[in-house]
């Protein structure tokens, strides 16, 4: 069983840095004791919640004894610093060590258990620890706990002075250390192992990840800063009480974790701040406080299980949709002349049944004319990628192309209804109808190739179909693994949000290095509505792939494959091995060193081949 937040994770590194910087200067704004008290508590809870997140959100293990580890840290501090007179500065980290050791002990039985049993064992452990502590009343003070624990001081400077500013910065320092620790851990190989174990246990194990070791280390790592935070807490409130084992504390921390959203680091931080403030504000409400917290937990879980973090993700999506829509709208009017010049064609906005689409038409050529040609671009690109072809063929053929919805200067659309191949094919139909074009040659690149195939297979009359960078599929998703080579760029094809580096990588892999001449192709990736990439995957299964494959096998439509010989995405062996009823030159025709977009990288070779295909297709 795994706790799977239903949203894509992201870095959050830069925002974290900003947040921490802000926190560093806060004491100069909030100079009173009470505000700082709230912040100190929030930091402590944030550390505990974020550490809990390591085992729960990332590791998928629900460790119910986590809060007990915090309490252990408090008691360790109490026993070492007060009873044994050890320096508080040693007693605090010692709290972390004991918590970590105990976490290791707890991990042992949990190593191979699943789901509910992890919960039960860890509950048993937390109860066991609790019972042991209250039974040793001479050491731990039993049910009354320990009081007047030593406070922190350094060279005679007592940290409580100056409205506890010393404690503030110590807490902040611990928070920074804990965050850095967790951050590095989750991004390390170990971190990926944890997530791999959570998401796909058997695959991870087959790759040599030891389940037992991963769980052990995850639990121990989650205990380290929890225990240190416990020690610090002991030095701050100066009391070690068995209440730390209680239901109230557990639900408080749980609510922070859930509100903040698991599997993130700074979600719990923000949630800790909010909840601590609210909780302290409700302090005099007594038992009502527990009720409010509990009801909040239930409401969040029922309606919005992803918590604050998921809400941010939603907002981010709204933001991103607006951003990309604005880019499209601005460029639509502003750069229209440049685009038309690039293609030597007239651009028109067409109202198709799936929204506003930008289309380009080079117009009827004077003199001897070949068949009209429809060019369909691929994922995260735009119609201007066919600039070379428009130039080369525009004089003798009517060239038509359009921006897919969410791409180029076309409008964004309802992702559920429109961002899928069949809908794209319907848009292509509408564009052809608008221009009154019948029986065109259709060329599709990458995603566009599937659209071209779909268009032809659905019955639209075409004179011929040529594709590049598109491995035909018969069975999805089974064939996808065979048809494509799994490179890291492949993952980007379906990713909703791309970082600037990822955009650069994807653009380079698909369209080539960024030069002044190809800069606009790189910008096209930035404009693309991320939801189009994402929904392409969820709608993969309902495309009628067999119908496309049948069409290729029957060979009634003239067909050509013009891949770059070194296209890094495709499995060329797979493509060559398919059965084609009638394919130009009898087999896939590779353009040497064409890359994923041979019509960009090697335009002359491509145009020659394409021209030859058109000639032959016309004769049929």
């Amino acid at each position: 069983m795994r706790y799977d937040p239903p949203f894509p994770k992201s870095n959050g590194f830069r925002p974290t840095l900003i947040a921490l910087a802000v926190l560093a200067v806060l004491p100069f704004i909030f100079t009173d004791s009470y505000s700082r008290h709230i912040l100190i508590l929030a930091f402590v809870f944030a550390i505990v919640a974020a550490s809990w997140d390591l085992s729960l959100g990332f590791g998928g293990l629900f460790n119910f004894a986590h809060v007990a580890l915090f309490a252990v840290g408090v008691y360790t501090y109490g026993i070492l610093a007060k009873t044994l007179g050890v320096s508080p500065w040693i007693a605090m980290p010692a709290g972390g060590i004991t918590a970590m050791a105990l976490a290791g002990l707890i991990a042992l039985p949990v190593l191979r258990l699943s789901g509910i049993y992890v919960i039960l064992v860890t509950i048993a452990f937390s109860q066991l620890i609790y019972q042991v502590i209250i039974s040793q009343s001479d050491i731990t003070g039993g049910t009354s706990g320990m009081v007047t624990l030593p406070s922190l001081e350094l060279f005679d400077y007592r940290f409580i002075k100056n409205h506890r500013i010393g404690y503030y910065y110590t807490a902040l320092a611990l928070l920074i250390a804990a965050t850095a620790f967790l951050y590095t851990l989750t991004r390390s190989r170990f971190g990926r192992a944890i997530v791999a174990m959570r998401d796909n246990k058997y695959y991870a194990m087959s790759r040599g990840v030891s389940e037992a070791r991963t769980r052990l280390l995850a639990l121990m790592a989650s205990g380290l800063f929890t225990g240190i935070a416990g020690g610090f807490y002991g030095s701050y409130v100066r009391v070690a009480s068995p209440d730390a084992f209680g239901l109230g504390f557990l639900t408080l921390l749980l609510s922070i974790l859930l509100l903040g959203g698991a599997a993130t680091i700074w979600g719990p931080l923000i949630a800790a701040l909010i909840i601590t403030v609210l909780s302290e504000a409700m302090g005099d409400l007594g038992p009502w406080r527990n009720i409010i917290i509990a009801v909040t937990i239930v409401l969040v879980l029922v309606f919005y299980p992803g918590g604050l973090w998921a809400a941010f993700q939603e907002l981010r999506e709204v933001f991103d949709t607006v951003r990309t829509g604005l880019i499209a709208r601005l460029r639509r009017s502003r750069e229209k002349a440049a685009r038309e010049a690039r293609l030597n064609a007239t651009e028109t906005m067409i109202r198709t049944r799936h929204g506003l689409i930008a289309a380009a038409d080079s117009g009827e050529p004077d003199g001897e004319a070949g068949p009209p040609i429809l060019m369909i671009h691929g994922n995260s690109s735009c119609k201007e990628v066919f600039a070379n072809q428009f130039k080369a063929f525009g004089k003798t053929h009517r060239m038509i192309s359009f921006d897919l919805p969410g791409h180029g200067v076309s409008a964004n659309a309802d992702p559920e209804k429109v961002y899928n191949v069949p809908a794209y094919a319907e848009i292509a139909e509408d564009v052809l109808d608008f221009y009154g074009v019948e029986r065109p040659i259709v060329f599709g690149w990458s995603l566009g190739g599937y659209i071209a195939l779909e268009l032809a297979a659905s019955g639209r009359a075409v004179r011929g179909v040529a594709i590049a960078g598109t491995p035909p599929l018969a069975v999805a998703p089974d064939d996808v693994g065979q048809a494509y080579d799994a490179t890291s760029h492949f993952i980007l094809a379906g990713k909703q949000y791309l970082s600037p580096m990822e955009m650069r990588n994807f653009a380079t892999a698909t369209a080539g290095e960024k030069t002044p001449g190809t800069a606009y192709l790189h910008e096209a990736v930035n404009r693309t509505d991320g939801r189009a990439r994402f929904y392409m995957i969820t709608k993969l299964m309902v495309v009628n792939w067999p119908r496309q494959m049948r069409m290729l096998r029957e060979g009634a439509v003239p067909f050509a494959i013009l891949n770059g010989s070194d296209d890094p995405f495709l499995n060329h062996g797979y493509i060559a091995g398919l059965t084609y009823g009638a394919i130009w030159t009898g087999q896939p025709h590779d353009i040497a060193d064409g890359g994923h977009a041979p019509f960009v990288r090697k335009p002359d070779a491509f145009n020659t081949a394409f021209s030859a295909f058109i000639g032959e297709a016309c004769d049929r």
Binding site: P109, V121, L128, Q131, L258, V298, L301
Partner: protein, 296 residues
Amino acid sequence: MSADTLLFVITGGLVLGALYALMATGLAVVWTTLGIFNFAHGAFIAAGAYIAWQISSAEASGLGYAAGALGSVVGMFFVGVACYALLVKPFERQPNLVLLSVITTLAGASVLESGIDILWGSRSKQLPRIVDGDVSLAGVTISANEAVLMVFVLVILTVLGLFLRRAPAGRAMRAVAQNRESAQLMGLDVPRLYAIAFGLSAALAAFAGVFVGSIRFMTPTMGSDPLMKALIVVIFGGVARFTSPIFAAFIVGLIEAFATFYAGLYWAPAVLFAIMIVVLIIKPEGLFGKYQRTVQ
């Protein structure tokens, strides 16, 4: 240990066992039917005690013990149904149902405990005994109250067993427990059966609460100890049949009695938890075997 002391410890263990059997069966009803662990079960026990007190106690409505018990059981049935509707039903179609319901039922427990605190305050109360005095049986003396309790427990559990075995609704509940989808396809009303199971579980908790309230002091958090004990029992015995918790309950009761005798009151719980952990490691499905439940 002398024979007298041995008998004393054993009877003590059996009394505990009877009580735990009642508590654990309630928990097991929900676990086997819905597949989730109801962390509010302890709070149900507490609520049951307090509602009974409210109805029966001279300081409140003064209607007497029987009315208190009955009212509590009926009332808690509806509380159980309500908890199901609010805390479990919204997640029915989620894959993480088990985990989410752990959290929501915990939250529910918090609400109930705090609610009790607000309504009745945290000063201890007590339910009256059913009958006073002691009873002697085969050379062993136990309080008459406890004897009556044990009899009641056995009666209740027997009735429950018959219900599940013979009654259409009981069989329907078992069907839903073992294969939700097949049950749906056979036209059984699964949401209603879930609600009934939860209500039934709460009603059993009310019984337990009424009994516990008469032999121990009542506080708002009185349910957490019974919850832990019920947890131990259910894990110990597994839930292969609805009756497995019963045998396990008596074993746990006996272990606790002996542990208390030898290790003292403070250490006994620790011993119990340690044993539970060991069982979980060696045989996670409990001493009495695995519950055959198809994938939901």
